[in-house]
């Protein structure tokens, strides 16, 4: 998949992932990797940005004698998912337009 497109999608993927429940770095990487390859170094800046935008919040929780940082979906994040889905029609229209350009050859 195109890297730019991937970057845009990962953000919503993470938000959707957190909608199912709080999660931590490694688990998020694993979940995303099922659909598109991603490295931790790619994930970190995105998580950091989502956090600074208030779409997710973080908390630390003890696990196996160490602290693990968990990410939690905030209402701004949920709004963000909804607005992404809301703009899907436009994305589809663009997709169709691009598709036609090849079909008419």
């Amino acid at each position: 998949m195109d890297t730019q497109l991937k970057k845009g999608l990962i953000e919503y993927y993470i938000l959707a992932n957190l909608k199912y429940g709080d999660s931590y770095g490694y688990e998020i990487v694993k979940t995303i990797s099922a659909h598109m390859p991603i490295t931790e170094s790619t994930l970190y800046p995105i998580l950091k940005r989502l956090e600074s935008q208030g779409k997710v919040s973080t908390f630390s929780s003890a696990y196996n004698g160490r602290l693990r940082k968990y990410y939690k979906l905030e209402s701004e994040g949920l709004d963000s998912i909804k607005s992404f889905l809301g703009s899907w029609e436009k994305v589809e229209a663009i997709h169709d337009y691009i598709k036609r350009s090849v079909e008419n050859e």
């Binding site: 770095g25 688990e27 950091k48 600074s52």
Partner: protein, 197 residues
């Protein structure tokens, strides 16, 4: 590379480009990754090798158009320089006045434990001397000697109480001064420019 080496390399390299708390956050993130990978049954070396190298992590951070705060030096334009130099008599004295106000606040605050300390010292020393020398005062009459002994004991006791008070107060005041100094430092030096690449 093992986990500790990885973390050491990463944090020392990051310290040039990020604030300490951001370095800590990032290092914690990668440390957590390593530990999680190890929990899945990977060896320490294998887990570290799964991650990007510290060099490429730093490259990926530099290249990301994000709100990472790099310590970018602000360029001072010549006009500003001229204004700064020409305006020194004005802002210099204002700054000096500001420093003096802060200094006097510190001095004023520390007067309280200093006063308690002085009372403690005077009480303990005066009381001790007065008690020790009270036998000499009995030459003027037993009642005078006894009175001096009693007052001496009272002073000594008060002195000890004041010593305790000074000690406990000093602790609070030291903590207070530290937090105030930190606040001032933050206000003065923590204005860093934010840059998006």
């Amino acid at each position: 590379m093992n986990r500790i080496e990885f973390i050491k390399t990463l944090s020392s390299k990051l310290s040039y480009v990020m604030k300490p708390e951001e370095v800590r956050e990032l290092v914690d993130y990668y440390d957590e990754m390593i530990l999680d990978l190890m929990e899945e049954g990977m060896s320490e070396e294998k887990a570290v090798s799964q991650l990007d190298s510290p060099e490429s992590i730093i490259e990926s951070i530099k290249g990301t158009p994000l709100e990472f705060k790099f310590p970018i030096r602000k360029k001072v334009s010549p006009l500003w320089m001229v204004l700064l130099i020409a305006g020194f008599p004005l802002w210099g004295s204002l700054a000096l006045a500001g420093i003096m106000i802060v200094m006097s606040i510190y001095i004023l605050i520390w007067c309280i434990p200093f006063l308690a300390g002085s009372l403690a010292f005077a009480g303990v020393l005066g009381g001790l001397v007065s008690v020790v020398l009270s036998p000499l005062a009995t030459f003027d009459g037993l009642h005078i000697g006894l009175t001096q002994f009693g007052i001496g004991l009272f002073l000594f006791g008060a002195g000890i109480l004041f010593t305790m008070l000074t000690l406990s107060m000093s602790k609070t005041f030291i903590a207070y001064s530290q937090s105030m100094t930190n606040k001032i430092k933050k206000i003065l030096f923590n204005q860093r420019s934010v840059v998006s690449i």
